[in-house]
């Protein structure tokens, strides 16, 4: 820290309300990794986004990272250069924090990072703009009072599958053996604006699909499957019933029909003789019949 700190940039890192623990930890991790950052309280969602510009000015910061959580599920991140500069909104996925036990590396608190970019960042203009934004926000200025003079970790930004993957590695040896330290997340670019938290849209990512849309599509596909099955069942039912084929009346069928002879109607006035009751000696009494039935049942 010998030397004059000339590049005076400060980054304000804060979030809106309704974030879950993972986001909170991610925010804290970024604050520890970036000594040129400042923290602020949670912002109420009622306020508009351009209020953030004023907050930044109050805190004397010229850049900002703002985390916005919606529906307690989706996390959006805004990166912006506060007075006039461009800003970008991202959807954050696959967040892993510093505290995960699989991240075995460690680095000095406040040491300056090396920033490594994919060559794809130079090919497209919007990627070039994003690269510049990342460099300005994530790079610690030299001779910052809270920074350590050593360079012992590396941030990598890679573009794969239309998304930007962020990783943080610790440099162990001079021959570039690395261990992963830090948080990791995936950024899905939504839009780039000309102004800070507002202004005309410079770029819109055509590959971006909002998480709502994504969930809706999943639900639709499930519903579609169900509807298909239902439809198929209905068709089968119809087939089974079959359309009743009307057969024309065949006149030759009736030829052999002869109506029955009419019998004279006899009215009985006298009660007929009752039959003599003959007791069937072979027929067992009721109780014994029941017993037999039971035995028969058990045998069976």
């Amino acid at each position: 820290s010998q030397g004059k700190w000339k590049n005076k940039k400060r980054v304000l890192i804060f979030s809106s309300r309704g974030i879950n623990f993972r986001t909170r930890h991610l925010m804290q991790d970024l604050r520890t990794l970036m000594p040129h950052s400042k923290a602020d309280t949670k912002m109420d969602r009622k306020d508009q986004l351009f209020v953030i510009n004023e907050v930044c000015e109050i805190k004397n910061c010229n850049k900002c990272i703002f985390f916005e959580a919606k529906k307690k599920q989706d996390l959006y991140m805004w990166l912006s250069n506060t007075p006039q500069g461009p800003s970008a909104k991202f959807l954050v996925q696959n967040v892993h924090t510093l505290a995960e036990l699989k991240m075995t590396g460690n680095c000095l608190r406040g040491s300056r990072p090396l920033l490594s970019f994919d060559p794809i960042f130079d090919k497209e203009p919007h990627y070039a703009l994003l690269k510049e934004l990342f460099i300005q926000i994530f790079g610690t200025p030299q001779y910052h009072p809270k920074s350590q003079p050593f360079v012992d970790h590396v941030f990598t930004f890679t573009v794969t599958d239309e998304r930007i993957w962020f990783r943080n590695y610790q440099i162990i040896e001079e021959d570039a053996s690395l261990v992963e330290i830090g948080p990791r997340f995936v950024l899905n670019l939504i839009k780039i604006f000309q102004g800070s938290f507002g202004g005309p849209t410079l770029y819109e990512n055509p590959h971006y699909q909002s998480p709502n849309m994504h969930r809706r599509l999943i639900r639709l596909s499930v519903a579609a499957k169900f509807r298909e099955k239902h439809h198929v069942k209905e068709v089968q039912k119809m087939k089974k019933k079959g359309s009743k084929v009307l057969v024309k009346e065949d006149p030759t069928e009736v030829v052999f029909e002869t109506p029955a002879e009419e019998k004279p109607v006899e009215i009985q006035l006298v009660k007929p003789e009752s039959k003599p009751i003959v007791k069937d000696k072979k027929k067992l009494r009721k109780i014994q019949r029941k017993k037999q039935k039971k035995l028969f049942k058990t045998e069976a």
């Binding site: 490594s116 994919d118 703009l129 030299q142 890679t158």
Partner: protein, 254 residues
């Protein structure tokens, strides 16, 4: 839109590299990986491949940046006596170390168990072999003793050669024994009916055995030979003369 973007790209700050510390490079070409042709088509679904590509990109950046930093006299290695606060607390690092250790121990334990099982199997095999060998030796010994008892081999070498090396055995009675080998009858049967031990129908006639007249002895068949049924045949040839003949011989001799 493009124009706007470029405008803003220029709006960005132009700082010395040492301030920015950024490197834009593709990943290091891994000699172990499949080919250089499909390094561009990193399948994002394949986690390992993806992470390895990130790792290699970081490596490339480090390999390029460290010499530059050294030239600019920015220190990159922390001296051993430089103690400062780390991004992760010591407690956290302890937890991590514990976890790693436990994983390693679990692996070692499973390895040991596997090895033990393998050794036990091998040990059992060796044990059975030893037992069989001992039984064989015992059998041989008994056979040798029986042979000696039956008078087949008159050497007691097998008792001595128990301790000495097998060479002694081979030189001594063993070779003699093996020369005589099985019984004559046995040898005949072996020759007639071949190897493979006792067969069930070995005494039955076959076509060849029926047509085989080599064991025909005319004298025996026609009962013309000297005959087996003779009491003391040898002695009969030199039969002792009678009393009279003997006296005659005695008088003649005097």
């Amino acid at each position: 839109q493009n124009g706007l973007k470029q405008c803003l790209a220029e709006f960005r700050q132009q700082l010395a590299w040492v301030e920015r510390l950024d490197v834009t490079l593709g990943p290091v070409v891994d000699p172990v990986s499949q080919s250089a042709s499909d390094t561009d088509a990193v399948d994002p679904e394949n986690d390992f491949q993806r992470e390895m590509s990130f790792y290699r990109q970081a490596q490339a950046a480090v390999l390029e940046a460290l010499p530059r930093l050294r030239k600019l006299q920015v220190p990159t290695r922390r001296p051993d006596d430089y103690f400062a606060e780390m991004a992760k607390s010591d407690q956290q690092m302890q937890k991590i170390r514990q976890k790693l250790k436990s994983k390693q121990e679990a692996m070692e334990r499973s390895e040991k168990a596997k090895q033990l099982r393998a050794m036990r199997k091998y040990g059992k095999k060796v044990q059975t072999e030893i037992l069989q060998r001992r039984q064989k030796e015992k059998k041989n010994m008994l056979n040798a003793v029986k042979k000696y008892q039956k008078g087949l081999s008159d050497k007691l070498d097998f008792l001595d050669d128990e301790q000495t090396s097998s060479q002694g055995n081979k030189k001594g009675s063993a070779s003699q024994r093996t020369k005589k080998g099985p019984n004559a009858k046995r040898r005949y049967k072996n020759q007639k009916f071949g190897f493979g031990g006792k067969k069930k129908g070995s005494k039955w006639n076959t076509k060849e055995s029926f047509n085989d007249v080599s064991s025909f002895q005319a004298k025996v068949a026609h009962n013309k030979g000297p005959g087996k049924t003779r009491k003391g045949g040898k002695k009969a040839l030199n039969k002792r003369p009678g009393k009279r003949a003997r006296q005659k011989m005695k008088n003649r001799a005097h």
